[in-house]
Symmetry: C2
Subunit: 560 residues, 2 copies
């Protein structure tokens, strides 16, 4: 859905897919969901291409409450805003399975606009949210055709994402957008009272988030089809039960999505887990619902175990509010939250302990290298595991069933042979045939018990890893500012206090990033141990079942 | 190697691949090893195609000792005779791996002429002996190209063979050639003294061969490469040790082949097991030697356990003779044996018990239907099992190795992550990687333990089953003669005594066939029970090994 915008800075295109824009120039944006901080649109000279989202101001026709937001909100955070606009005919055209409804509180139309079909498990969650906010997203066909290509892109993985971010970096885009620049430069006014506060303390391996005072978990169960408007609209609702209240609330995907976008909006330096991808077609097919549930559970586990995210007021609202009216109020309150982006940095309590900025930068670089390698290997494993799923459902099953059939036709031949034929042998052989047909089915079933779960976990991690380049970039930007201020003071262009302030606030960014790094490590350690153990256990159980089947079959030959 | 021949009967072609020949017409035969009783050659009008081997007389340039033979010898029995002819330059052209030598006792040149390359295990043993005696066999290239096609042909299996034989049947070829016609008509003079005699008695399920008075078994071991003429010629020799003497003799494939052709020659109504196929290229490659040895062992077991074949004098000579001079003498004696083909029928002692010819014919028809169905299903299983072998060596192995690599690169990524990374976890994961690479290898190895043996057994049975249509056809011919004689006596054109004689001799053929049928059944029963049990046992052992590997790997995660 295209909207008007105005350039607030001049931008000189450097790559062929970019277009230059002049300050104050009128622009058209084809899809206002920016991708990695870039809009696709047309300038006043009719050139079409990409330009930085942070360089323009979207012109609102109805509400302009989000205009300022838009320049400081992280990539993709505008996802929800689009729902504020009534859908144009051409979007309704390719709306699938549900009708547009104007309920401000209902984003299924928007949810539906995402047209990525998720028919296998190889889709890189790294593309979550992004891919269906891509400039092309309001042309489903292009999406369908483009998909395999997208996968290839994914498999090139963070290296490409990196380069994309690299470009942003040159333009300070996410650094600017996130408001971290403003924060470091001290342009973010200290508030009178800050209700929330998150503490970073020093652990044996450096800075870490202070554990949440009241840790809890949360179950997601029982996805059920609901209808409204006499069945015109259908949706799935999940029973969400936090352990500390024990009172269930019922949430739809769009509620998760609302929460997700709040999180992106608020927690600048935190890797917010991606939601399972959206899809329009087959949204009500069992496999998809099952898969989405499994992945929402992983998402929820990461949320509840994260010392900062788990304490977010909006999250609490999401977990507890059972009343419709209350829901809307709480929703508005969360959307009005001022401690977002840059201001969120003000809520961080860091230890006084001195850290040499040089060391921090080195640590961050080590982590950056690790994250890239991990992203690559997670991608590789995702591809292999998805291939293996296909083999289980296809090749393996087929081979064993063929063998089964062949044995059966042997025993059928033998039955043509009275009086010589022994029924015991014929039965044994035809039972062997059935056994192998069975084993074929077992192969086809097995991914449900092992590979799917592994793929879910990998998908979560691809999402988490995809966030880090941006976050690391914030810290890099902060460092740059420190060095710059250092130089300026040396040249006497900045007084020491200001420089010290910048250095101090840069430390905050550094501590926050390190805390988030160490949380990621700690989780990774636990998650991959569990995942590998669970996989091996299921594999063992599977091959043991095969052995049992064969042993039972073998016994049939003993009585001969 | 093409030879001259003369048509002894006129033959009118009925299918496009056939050519017509006139009595006394001069013909050229491209390959004098007939295929299912058909020669490929050229008539005096330059037409090229197939005509019945039994309608022509090969014109010998050097020795014509075999001329009469050739018209009564069963299909393919001429295989050895070709060695009597010096190889022409164009054959030596594509002789591979060994040089032609003129030693009358050495058939490697001929052995080499067969150019079927057996690089996988899918080759239908149904084509044994035949395929490498095929008209095309002195052009290896055609063979290589033709191979997949040949496989397809095989898979159409006995239905085609059937029709082929059916054609022979119309021409009475094998009936005439085998001499059974002559026998039934009483044209085979009773000998003064008949040294050998084989008894058929009545078992619970009808006629059967009387057990051999001294049953024995025979091992084939230790194939070793031998050279002669200062290494110009190389060949493989096997240590053959009969249980009743315990004295080993050393035999080459060509000795087996000599014996095989003697058996075809002599035992008209018995299904002689085919030898493992010949091949020129890669004759000295381990896999091939291994496979040939396994299949010679199966062949030998069938020989030693067969009540009639096991008692054959030529076989005894093959098993016992250790002295070169003695060998040649015994060989000549066996080749001079008069009790072959028609005369062999004279050596059969049948019970006096009356059998209604109608019943016998029905039994034979039932068996015929069974044999066809069994041939089809054995073919099907052969194809499936061969496909499975390929999958084990290819797809399965690849999938598991990929998974292994993916796990390893995960652990490599984790190692980039000090101080957070836990060596125990990283080792466990990389060990999991190695385990799956291992499992991939185990899949690739497994066919050696199960599928290969099954394929060997199936190959033996395809050979045995391929013989029956001809044998059944003999009995059909005999029945026809009985009915004919009946009619003639009714019309007073034949006196009763002669008709009774025909009927009596026809009973002998019937008894012999039934005895052979019941022997086949008895063996099939045993062989397939053993094969299936062995297969299942190996499969169980395999999956148990997989389970053990995985369990060992899983334990590495416990200490975390």
């Amino acid at each position: 859905m295209s909207v008007k915008a105005k350039a607030i800075y001049t931008f000189q295109s450097e790559n062929k897919e970019e277009i230059s824009i002049q300050e104050n120039e009128e622009l058209v944006i084809f899809d206002e969901n920016s991708v990695d901080g870039w809009f696709q649109g047309e300038n006043s000279r009719g050139e079409r291409g990409l330009f930085p989202a942070s360089y323009v101001e979207v012109i609102r026709t109805r509400s302009n409450s989000n205009v300022t937001d838009c320049s400081i909100s992280p990539a993709g955070s505008l996802g929800n805003d689009s729902s504020y606009f009534p859908s144009t005919p051409n979007t309704t055209l390719h709306m699938q399975q549900s009708y547009y409804d104007d309920d401000d509180d209902d984003w299924d139309d928007w949810d539906d606009r995402s047209t990525v079909v998720d028919d296998d498990h190889s889709r890189s969650p790294g593309a979550n949210g992004h891919s269906n906010q891509s400039p092309l997203s309001n042309n489903p066909n292009i999406h369908y055709r483009a998909k395999p290509h997208m996968e290839r892109q994914d498999s090139i993985s963070s290296s490409r994402k990196g380069s994309m971010v690299g470009r942003n970096l040159n333009r300070f885009s996410s650094f600017v957008r996130s408001g971290v620049e403003a924060f470091v430069l001290g342009d973010v006014p200290m508030m009178a009272k800050i209700a929330e506060s998150y503490t970073i303390d020093m652990g044996p391996q450096g800075p870490r988030w202070k554990e949440s005072p009241q840790p809890f978990s949360c179950s997601i169960e029982d996805p059920t089809k609901q209808t409204k408007f006499k069945g015109i609209k259908t949706y799935i609702s999940y029973r969400v039960t936090p352990s500390h209240t024990g009172r269930p609330v019922y949430r739809r995907y769009k509620h998760f999505d609302w929460l997700y976008n709040r999180l992106l909006h608020k927690f600048t330096v935190i890797s917010v887990p991606h939601l399972p991808e959206k899809q329009a077609t087959g949204r009500f097919e069992e496999d998809f619902i099952e898969k989405r549930k499994r992945r929402l559970i992983l998402w929820m586990n990461h949320m509840t175990s994260h010392p900062v995210l788990s304490q977010y007021e909006g999250f609490e609202h999401f977990l507890m509010c059972a009343d419709d009216k209350q829901w809307k109020l709480g929703k508005r309150r969360a959307e009005k939250d001022e401690m977002v982006g840059a201001h969120f940095m003000l809520t961080l309590q860091i230890p006084n302990e001195h850290q040499d900025l040089q060391d921090v930068e080195e640590r961050v670089d080590t982590f950056k290298a690790f994250a890239k390698k991990m992203d690559d290997s997670v991608m590789q494993l995702t591809h292999v595991a998805s291939e293996l799923v296909r083999k289980h459902l296809g090749g393996f099953r087929k081979e064993f069933q063929r063998l089964g059939n062949a044995f059966q036709s042997i025993s059928q031949a033998f039955m043509l042979d009275p009086p010589h034929c022994s029924d015991t042998l014929n039965n044994a052989i035809s039972h062997t045939g059935r056994t192998y047909e069975n084993i074929g089915e077992m192969f086809a079933e097995q991914p449900k018990y092992d590979l799917f779960h592994m793929l879910d976990k990998l998908s979560l991690y691809q999402g988490l890893l995809a966030n880090f380049p941006d976050i690391i970039h914030l810290q890099k930007g902060a460092f740059a500012k420190v060095k710059e201020s250092q130089r300026m003071t040396d040249e006497g262009k900045m007084d020491q206090d200001e420089a010290d302030g910048i250095r101090k606030r840069c430390r905050t960014v550094g501590f926050a990033l390190q805390a988030e790094m160490s949380y990621f490590h700690q989780q990774r350690e636990v998650d991959f141990k569990d995942t590998m153990q669970a996989y091996l256990k299921e594999q063992i159980a599977f091959y043991q079942r095969v052995v049992q089947q064969l042993e039972r079959t073998l016994r049939m030959y003993d009585c001969l």
